[in-house]
Symmetry: C2
Subunit: 217 residues, 2 copies
């Protein structure tokens, strides 16, 4: 560890490795590439990591602990009032997705995750349990409570969660792809809000009073 805000070599290796892995893939990145970015010689990395795999493992394990999305869910859970607001909760979630697309660290993690999804069992398990299942479960309980409060129509909360989540994931992929090519993201960015608008209109408890959209609770 170095003092004065400077990062330790260990941390710098992780940072640079993440950037390189996310750009060129794990196999496409050499220890020499990483060392060069860090500013040390290739052999120097082995003072901090046993081998290349250990760097990837450490990065993958850190993914779990740094989910800005789950933090948001936690803060929503802590505030019982939040569920009564209905659409604004969904907007907050969509906005978080949008902002994460522009966070360099999250972008790199996303790219790494996608690239290693089929090649790496650990990444796949992590994606499925901690990213997909966890987020959909959290969303599901939000929709369930909204149904209880008769804010939205009664239906399958888990299915709603899937339907709300999947476009957000997809739009984030689009934004990150556009950024990769240095293209404008302006049109893709509007998709997040529009998704919330369309989705909310389709689930909200009937403005069309007396319609077939009665809640069963």
């Amino acid at each position: 560890m170095r003092r004065g805000g400077g990062k330790s070599t260990y941390d710098r290796i992780l940072d640079m490795a993440l950037m390189l892995f996310s750009e060129k893939g794990y196999k496409g990145t050499t220890m020499r590439d990483i060392a060069a970015k860090v500013g040390i010689r290739q052999g120097g990395i082995y003072n901090h990591f046993k081998n290349k795999d250990e760097i990837l493992e450490k990065l993958v394990n850190d993914m779990m602990k740094s989910s800005a999305l789950l933090s948001l869910f936690d803060s929503l859970d802590a505030d019982p009032q939040s569920y009564t607001k209905g659409k604004s909760v969904l907007s907050k979630i969509a906005t978080t997705f949008k902002l994460l697309s522009f966070d360099p660290k999250n972008e790199a993690l996303f790219r790494l995750m996608i690239q290693e999804l089929f090649r790496n069992q650990t990444v796949r398990d992590l994606y499925y349990e901690k990213f997909y299942q966890e987020n959909v479960k959290r969303l599901s309980s939000i929709f369930f409570r909204m149904m209880q409060d008769e804010l939205i129509k009664s239906s399958d909360p888990l299915m709603l969660a899937n339907e709300f989540f999947s476009p957000l994931f997809f739009y984030q992929l689009q934004v990150i792809l556009l950024k990769t090519d240095g293209k404008s993201t302006s049109s893709a960015v509007t998709l997040f809000e529009k998704h919330v608008d369309i989705f909310w209109e389709s689930i909200k408890a009937g403005n069309d009073y007396g319609g077939r959209t009665s809640t069963l609770f």
Copy 2:
């Protein structure tokens, strides 16, 4: 070319390379791996391809020409009656997505595409123009015609296309991931139909006659 239905070595190299690339990634696959699967020696591949890159290029270029989804759109365009059926058109598209998840060749292409998306400019261009843009544009024109026929509510066709497409893409990813781990896909498979149900309910021209859902056409 060999006679009698047997595939040429050239084609077998492409087939095996696609399978291996989709499992272990381009960089993670060696020429020896490919040769072993084909049943020839490593050097023999160079009688058919200049180098490893040329195999990938050929595979990538073939992706364009083999889109079962675009074939479906073409057949829909050829049948003017199809649009009047409304929901069944969407079901047909969703079912195609679902079936493609279980087509080995499509699955391999999907995996290859995802893995190379960030690493390979050509794959990225292809994904964006031929896969994303093209499909969304086709969907968009379907929704536009449905609006003209007052089958569905009036709104932005392009946005509807995005909202309809993105869950299908996402669910296909889930199915393929589950298959990768040999897990059951039964729960994921139902998502396709449920998506169509939910989506159609949210866009169809009002059953609630006289509501705020009037079409503007």
